[in-house]
Structures are given as C-alpha cells and as structure tokens.
Amino acid sequence: MNCIRQLRLLRTYNTSYYLRNKAASKCQDKIEERQHKFQLSEPILNEKYLLDPKNAAKISENSLMRKGIGDIYLVHEINNKLKDESLNPDERRDLESQLKNELKKIPNDTHPAVRNYGEEPKVVALFNKEPEFKHKVYEFSEICRKLNILRTDHLGNFAGHKSYYLMNDLAELEQALIRYTLSEILQHGFNLISVPDILPAEVIKSCGMQTDGDRTQVYRLLPSNLCLSGTSEMALAGYFAGSKLSQKELPIKVTAVSRCFRAETSGTTEERGIYRVHQFTKVEMFSVCSPAQSEDILNEFKEIEIALFNKLGLHFKLLDMPPHELGAPAYRKYDIETFMPGRKIWGEISSCSNCTDYQSRRLNITIDESAEFAHTVNGTACAIPRMLIAIIESFQNEKGFIEIPKVLQPYMKKDKIVKQKVIPELKLIKHAIKS
C-alpha cells in the first residue's frame, strides 16, 4: 500500500481542472487591447429639442405610448441640477454622465399613423388563401423526422444547446431560398456586401445592444472584446459609422447574407424545434437614405418582402405595428406573419423598420451638403429557419411529400421532397466498447 500513500501525496498537488480553461484561452490574451477601425463616436442626440421643457409633455407621452424605459422628466431634473453653479467638478461630471445615459434611453418618435393603434397591430392586408388539408396536418419536426431531413436530438453535448443539422433536401431548400431571395432583391438596385459575423463589443453596443450581464442576448468570445453578431444590421451599421455621404449617393441600398448568433432561448411549445435557435443564416436589406426618402424606402422594402413571400405561395399577413411593439429605434415597423398550419400559429417571418435618425445619430452618419443626419431603414428578406418551417408545414400533402414552391424548383431541380434512405437514422451507441 506504499503506492497508495504516495499517490495520496500527489493528489494534494492537484489544482482544480478549470485552470485548463484559463490556459485554453491564454493565446487570445495578446490581441485584446487592439484598436479596431470602426469610426464610432458618442451619440449626437438632438439635445436642443430634448432639453426644451416645452417638448417634455410630448416626449413623455411618446415614451409612455411605446412602453419604453426613457423618462424625459428625469432628464430635465438632472439638467436642472446641472444649472447649479456651486457644483464641484466631480459632481458635475457624474451628473453629466447620468444625463447622457438618460438621454440615450429616450426612444425614437412614433409615426403619426400608428399612434392611435392601441395595443394591437393593424392588419394591413392578407395574402393567399389559408392552405386546406384533407389529411392530418403535421408539425415541422414531425414531417422532417419522417423524411429524415433534420436532426435536432442528442446534440447538446457535441454542438451545444439547440443545435440542428439540415440534411439533404432541407439543406438544399436552404440554399435555394438564399439564391431565390438574392436573385429577386438584386433586381431592385441593392448592392451585395459580405459582412463580418464577429464584431468588437463597441460596435454592438452602438446598435443599442448590451454585451455584458447575465441576460445579454449577445454571445461573447473569451477573453476578448469580440462578440458574435446577432444580425448583419450590426456589421452594416458599423460599416457606415462616421460616414459623411453625398446627397447624390443616396439612397444607398445594400443586402447581406450572414450567420446570425443569438443567445436567447425559448421553452414554449409553440416555439419548439428550430423556431427560435442560437444560430441561423439570414438575408438582410439595409438602406441609408435622406430624411425625405426614408418613408418611400420603407414602403419599397415592404413591397419587396410581400413579393418574395407571395411568389412562394405562403399564406401571410402584413401588420403595421403599434407603438409599444416598435422597440426604441423604430419610427414605424411592419411585421409579416405567416400561418404555420402544423403548429397552428401565425409566426413572424420578416419585418422592416424605418429608424429615421435614431441609429444615424448614434453612429454619426450624416449628409454632407445639409449636415443633416441620414435615415436608416432595415428589413429581413429571408430568415432561414422560420422560412423552412413555413414552407414545409404549408406545402405538405397527404402522401407525406412536400411540394416545392414553383419559384424554388429551378434551384432545387425537382418539384417535391420525398423520403430518401441515404442518411442513417439516428441511433446512438449506449455502452462503452471493450477493447
């Protein structure tokens, strides 16, 4: 038992194994302090308007209607304190910083047309007929299991929570959707741009997202200041940050296909499967334009989205969103919800927002000639997982096939998705294998 005694002695030298984790990320230390080239600056807010007591009632009414967090009376209270000339420099600095923070929380103004919507969005239009089925209607994951085109089970320990593999025809459907969407929107004068999916935390913060804390929706790489982009809008906003654009360049319309990463999760039955996932591919539209153009651009984005989903034959509705659904940045926002017959819900597949100067003030995007802040408009052209759910659930038939929408058929070189036995069914080994 001498051996045991010596081993016991050894054990006292064990440091806990998480040291390994520190070692694992050590090589990334050296790059942390590097400066990035994004031209970010402090938000340049319309202080003249916001700090004028005459506007307080109107601003407060807007904030309350939007159920946001901004409090204009608190802003004024701090501003009044700052008028006290007996403040010492430290107190002044603290108050100035508080004022800046409170000012940043004040939401964008609201489009007059939606102010009286109350709690509910306005259904502007309905498109295509609700699909009718003479057979039992199945939900996305049930159909995919039968066709063996999706795997979501038993992946947590290998690829992380809520991972998924699109297999065979479902992976082809993803590629077909990207090709179809791009071919459609590039006809509308958009420039394609490829964007980074990994961004410095400062860029993400400048888009109004928190990157720290327990409830953040942003993935962070350790131990760097790098984060994973939740939408290409973040990278595009960073791209235009600090720009002085000439009036004749406007409107600039760009589109990007990118991977989006979101730390949020959901446990509801309606959102089961790949409805809300941590990573997915998305085609995004983004525009920087003049104040006079933004309303038309929003309408153009809306029409492009309608045309995209209409040609696919989906049953969907266009919603003009009420004030409390706008978040802080949007002045007006349209959502598109499609009926997902398998889960029997209307699911959001797309939206577009006019953010007027809310983003451009934070990113300092101006128009050269007039020194005005530009306006920004963004819209989702195709977010893959929900499009897959909508298509698979809407176009299932009694034989268990999926009828591929006509506009996608040239890309997939077939008209239906049927079961193929080429991919092994999921069967995992349970026991250790003996040598």
Binding site: Y18, N157, I198
Partner: protein, 420 residues
C-alpha cells in the same frame, strides 16, 4: 519512478479532458462517452510511436510518456488484482463464511476505493499525453518534401500584381472585412456552385451548426487553445466547453457522427456543406488578406468501411478538383504533404495550391485529409458487421477556401464576372 514524476513540474497543473472523463469528475461533469482508445495495443508498439513522431518532427517527451504509462498500467493492474480478489472473496464467503475473509473483503474494498481516488490524477496526466500520440502515417505520405501529384498550366512569371482587391475588399482588421460588388457575389455563388457540383457527383448536402463542444476538437486532436472559446454560465466548472468554429469547418461534421451507430450497408457516406470557417489562429494584428479569421469554405466528409478504398477516394478527389478548378484557367498544383505537415489526427493529406504573385509563394486554397479510424474510435462512430463493432474510416477536407481563391484570381487579373 514515482519520485521522479512527483518532482517534475508537470504536476503543478492538472490536465483534464472532456473526451476522457475520470471517475472523480464524473460526479459533476457528465461523461459523454468512453473513447475507444486501445491504450495497451498502441503502447505495446513503442517503436512505431517513436518513428511516427520523428517523421512528423513533433516534440513529445517519449520517456515521460513511457514512465507515465508504466505507472498507469501498474495501477490498472493493481486495480484488477484487487477487483479479482474481491470477487473471489465474495464467492468464498458464500461457500464458507469466516470473520477473516469478511475483514479482508472490507479492507480490499477500502483499498480499491482509495487506489481509484488517488490514481485519477495519474490517469489524467497519462491520458492527456496519450491523446497527443498521432495517427498512423499512411505509406503514401512523402517523408520529407511536398510531392506534386498534378499540375495545371505553368507557374506564372513576372506578373504585375493587380491591386484591384482593395477596391473589392474593405479591410478593417483580421477579423473584420467587407467584400463588395463581384467579390461578394463570388463568395456566395461559387460556394453554392461547388455544393451543386458535389451533389451531382453523389454527395449529400448538409447544413451544419457553428459551435462545437470541447469533446469534438479533443477527439480530432485539435488544440483547444487554437479555437475560439465562447462565454457561458459557470464556465469555471465545466469541462465540455463551447467553441466557435463555423458551419464550414470539419469539426462541425463530427458532432453529427459522435456515438452514431450505422449499418455497414449505409457506407460510404458522402456529404458536402458550405459555410463559414472562423480561424482564431489568424486573429492577430496583420494586413494579410490571405489569413483572415472569417472565410467561406466548402467542406466535404466521407465515411467508408475501411482503408481499402483509399486509392479510389484520393483519385476521385483529384478529379473533382480538376473539374472545379480548371475552369478558373489559372495555374494550380495538387500536392501531398510530407509527414511533418500533418496534423495529429491526419494520416495522409492532399493540398491544392495556387501561386500568389504578391506573396511570392504557393498558397493552399483547398485540402483533403485521410483520418483512417482515428477520430471514429475516439467518438465511437461505429458500424456493425457480422455482429462485430467496427469503426468507419474518415476523409474530410476544405475542398475550397473561397476567400483565398478569390484573392488569387483578382491578383492575377481574372475577371470575376466570368464565374458568377
């Protein structure tokens, strides 16, 4: 021997694996699988290991490994002896119970428990180094130099490098760059076209996740410090951490196959995917477009029964590359890498190189590796044949790095419009 180990500095830090979880850690860290390691078999051929790491020019302290193994084997033997004696005592007690036997039984149980508790550290230490022992080297792998297998057109000479690339790519730093115009179109479209090509050649399209847990890179013998680590709750207590590698990375195919049992009739499996590859090794301050963090890649994955189809698969891959790359009408060559360029898990590796006039050297724009059953065994990807469990042989490669191809084409004055 123990004293020597005891005195060595390696004991200061305990190496823990997510792939091979020792009993003490299994309380709080779920052991996802027990890798099939064949430790005794591999260690019995010590000369092969020695020759292998010499060829690969690796630095692995073999004396240390050997002594760790002897100690590990010694403890394992002792454990087996105690276990056997305990079984014996149970049987004897059934026949003829006695106080002496009962006491011996209790003592044995205690000793076995203590031996296990105290040997976890040694087990970790040995396994940590054992997992670094490289895969067998295929006999077609050249010993010292790259071997050119195929060459298309002649190496360009005295070409003026076109710097149009800076108009097509706005470079912020190694992590952030923006591609515009034809470059952005090329990046998306060529990748999709390559997937279509492979589909026509009998491959199945896959769309993979972007994250992997530590167990996957460990099984593929990829150093965890070379890939991005993601922040998670209670990360200090976890072994099986979350990493960002990208849906166009080889590792992200492996999560699908971990623990998967299939029928031999389902082989070969041939898959193709496209997506991002996030390379954390390129995340440092530089201006080199050829080594950026984020690239769009096409990755294939092949699983077959055994090594017999090696020649055919390599031949097919060369043919695929010819069909895909000759249309760009630029010089390229296909090479096989010498042993020293192989990763730990690779047994043989092909590369497709194009000549860069700006760098004055060949740049790898595609690769394809043979892993034999090295990774399958560690991840228990298995199939049954005649009731015997076997492990498929794996081939996988970044069959096109779109970014590198694009830069090369622009540098050499090719018009991207012709390909999109």
């Amino acid at each position: 021997m123990l004293r020597r180990l005891f005195n060595s500095s390696i004991l200061i830090k305990r190496n823990a694996s997510a792939l091979y979880v020792t009993g003490d850690k299994a309380m709080e860290n779920f052991a996802v699988l027990s890798p099939f390691l064949q430790i005794d078999e591999r260690m019995s051929n010590f000369e092969e290991i020695k020759a292998n790491i010499t060829k690969r020019k690796m630095t692995l302290n073999l004396d240390e490994l050997k002594s760790e193994y002897e100690l590990y084997a010694d403890v394992e033997k002792r454990k087996r002896e105690l276990e056997n004696r305990r079984v014996e005592i149970v049987a004897l007690m059934k026949q003829e119970p006695s106080e002496g036997l009962k006491l011996e039984g209790i003592n044995l149980r205690e000793n076995l428990k203590k031996l296990k508790e105290n040997s976890y550290y040694l087990e970790d230490q040995f396994i940590h180094n054992f997992l670094k022992i490289p895969n067998y080297i295929h006999n077609k792998t050249p010993a010292n130099e790259k071997e050119v297998i195929y060459s298309f057109l002649d190496k360009p000479s005295d070409v003026i490098v076109n710097d149009k690339i800076h108009k097509l790519i706005e470079f912020y730093d190694s992590t952030c760059y923006y591609m515009k115009g034809d470059a952005a179109k090329f990046d998306i479209q060529i990748a999709l076209d390559v997937c279509d090509y492979y589909k026509e050649a009998g491959f199945i399209k896959f769309s993979n996740p972007d994250f992997v847990r530590s167990i996957i890179p460990e099984a593929a013998a990829v150093d965890l410090s070379n890939i991005f680590l993601l922040k998670e709750d209670a990360i200090e207590n976890k072994l099986n951490l979350l990493h960002l590698t990208g849906n166009g990375s080889m590792l992200n195919f492996l999560s699908f196959f971990a623990k998967l049992t299939i029928f031999s009739t389902q082989l070969p499996i041939q898959l193709i995917s496209t997506g991002r590859n996030y390379n954390s090794m390129n995340h440092f301050d530089h201006q080199d477009l050829y080594s950026v963090v984020q690239t769009t890649c096409c990755q294939n994955f092949i699983a077959v029964n055994d090594e017999k189809s090696f020649d055919k698969i390599i031949e097919d891959q060369i043919l695929h590359w010819k069909n895909i790359f000759e249309r760009f009408n630029q010089h390229f060559r296909i090479i096989s890498y010498p042993a020293e360029s192989l990763a730990i898990s690779e047994s043989y590796k092909l590369g497709l190189e194009m000549y860069s006039n700006s760098q004055n050297e060949y740049i790898e724009v595609a690769n394809f590796s043979y892993y034999s059953d090295f990774i399958s065994k560690r991840l228990l990807f298995n199939y049954k044949q005649d009731k015997v469990t076997k492990f498929p042989h794996i081939y996988s490669g970044t069959v096109m790095n779109v970014m590198k191809l694009l830069i090369n084409l622009v540098e050499s004055n090719s018009d991207l419009k012709k390909f999109i």
